[in-house]
């Protein structure tokens, strides 16, 4: 009973709170990093160096008036943010945060579930989030959100193809769809897949930027163009849910990048013996550090690059990334076959 219910439940609670707190502080980190790049200070007033800013933000969003446009489809309008948020959070179920640890002599793996279709599960869950965006834009009964929603869905679907294709090449190397097996395969091979599949990594990263609506692909919410995109009409708590989902998605894609390409919970250079002393660091710390480095890259890019235009983004997705990803799969498969002989 304890193995079946209590431990997973505790894990779910820990992951959920961890994710929510990380999201809150990711927002602060983003504002701070942006500010430092842009010769500003960022939030400074709430708490020392603004460390309490996220709490103030959340409080503000809670007490703000929650407006529903008069002719909006009320049910769908309320459901849409939830449809966006739920997939973003349940995707964490298959992410392995660390190796097995023993707590009170009981071995506990640091993941909620190890599905044999783990990677596909992430793809599936991500594809559901699109509905929230489209429906949110549609139900607002307003032109800007609708345009933003149509843009968003087209963008997400296009880039999902490229991202999924990069998964295929990783699967070819690892020989498994399970997230845990992918990490152990990197341990067995003694090398991170980032070095085995550099092209897949770059395609995945670009695709991830586009899938999480991050700059330079932040068209669905391009402030200067479509006001705020699909969530223009949202305010208060429901807006906060969209916001939360966006950042949760960022963490998901970073965590997936870490797992697939940067060796998950493994220490750097897992095969080099004399770095053995690094093993004293708990595995989950490696995971968190790597994830944050990927996240930092997201923020850095946002502060540096201008924004793509819609048709250019589509062209990049379909005419560059997808063919490259397919070519990568073919090459990977050919090499695998050649090596196995």
């Amino acid at each position: 009973m304890i193995d079946l219910l209590v431990i997973p439940l505790i894990k779910i609670v820990i992951v959920l709170t961890g994710v929510l707190i990380t999201v809150m502080y990711l927002v602060l980190l983003e504002r701070k990093v942006q500010a430092w790049v842009q010769v500003r200070l960022g939030p400074m007033r709430v708490g020392p160096h603004g460390v309490l800013q996220p709490i103030a933000d959340v409080l503000k969003l809670f007490v703000k008036e929650d407006i529903t446009p008069v002719r909006a489809d009320k049910v769908v309008f309320t459901l849409a943010p939830i449809i966006v948020l739920v997939p973003a959070i349940i995707a964490f179920a298959v992410i392995p945060f660390g190796d097995q640890v023993s707590i009170f002599g009981k071995p506990v793996p640091l993941h909620i579930a190890d599905l044999n279709v783990g990677l596909l599960y992430i793809v599936a869950v991500a594809s559901i989030g699109i509905y929230g965006i489209i429906l949110g834009g549609w139900s607002s009964n307003s032109k800007y959100p609708l345009l933003g929603a149509l843009r968003a869905s087209a963008q997400l679907i296009s880039y999902e193809v490229a991202v999924t294709l990069t998964f295929v090449s990783v699967i070819l190397v690892s020989g498994s769809l399970s997230m845990v097996d992918i990490v152990t395969a990197q341990k067995a091979n003694g090398v991170w897949f980032a070095f085995v599949q550099p092209l897949a990594l770059s395609i995945y990263f670009v695709g991830a930027l586009a899938e999480t609506n991050r700059s330079p692909f932040d068209l669905p919410e391009a402030e200067q163009e479509l006001v705020a995109g699909f969530h223009t009409e949202y305010s208060g708590m429901r807006f906060a849910l969209f916001f939360l989902a966006e950042y949760a998605n960022m963490i998901v894609v970073s965590a997936v990048a870490t797992t697939l390409f940067f060796g998950g919970w493994l220490r750097p250079f897992p095969s080099v013996a004399f770095l053995h002393f690094l093993d004293f660091v708990p595995t989950w710390i490696w995971f968190v550090v790597k994830t944050f480095l990927v996240l930092y890259l997201f923020l850095w890019i946002r502060a540096t690059l201008p924004r793509y235009r819609y048709d250019q983004l589509m062209r990049l997705g379909w005419k560059v990334l997808i063919p490259l990803a397919i070519a990568n799969i073919i090459v990977t498969a050919a090499v695998k076959v050649a090596l196995s002989d």
């Binding site: 489809d73 279709v117 793809v123 559901i128 699109i130 509905y131 869905s153």
Partner: protein, 169 residues
Amino acid sequence: MGQAIAFYTLAACILGFGVLVITAKNTVHSVMFLVVNFLFVAGLYVLLGAQFLAVIQVVVYAGGIVVLYLFVVMLVNLKRPPEAHQDRRRRGRLGVTCSLVVLAELVAIAAYKYVSPAAGLPPALPMGPDNVAQVGMLLYTDYLIPFELASMLLLVAMVGAIVLAKRDL
């Protein structure tokens, strides 16, 4: 026991949302119910030990095909609210009668099989542990030709859809 509960819940949801799909007035709501319906069907696949299919169902059906529907519904409704289409009662009634007859027939067959001794089919066993490998093996060996044909079909459909939907090539 647990399996039965899961089955009846899923079945009820599948049928309920199926009915909602065809009865909802607003097409967008229809599409939403369809998605939910597909998700429950995916749940049923998990119950039947076909995890790979369940995920494919979500990715392709819920995440791909139905999004396409939603897209078209929105393009079509962009300018005007969904029109109240004139329902031709006569044909509607015909359809209901027709389908009720088929339903009765099928239920009769099922019920007959259920009560007859021939229904003593072996209970559902759990599938092999590696469902993905199993399906993949079959797909790339015994069913290789159909698989390639399917990919051709998709290519043709893709070209066809682009030709149909693009205003000027």
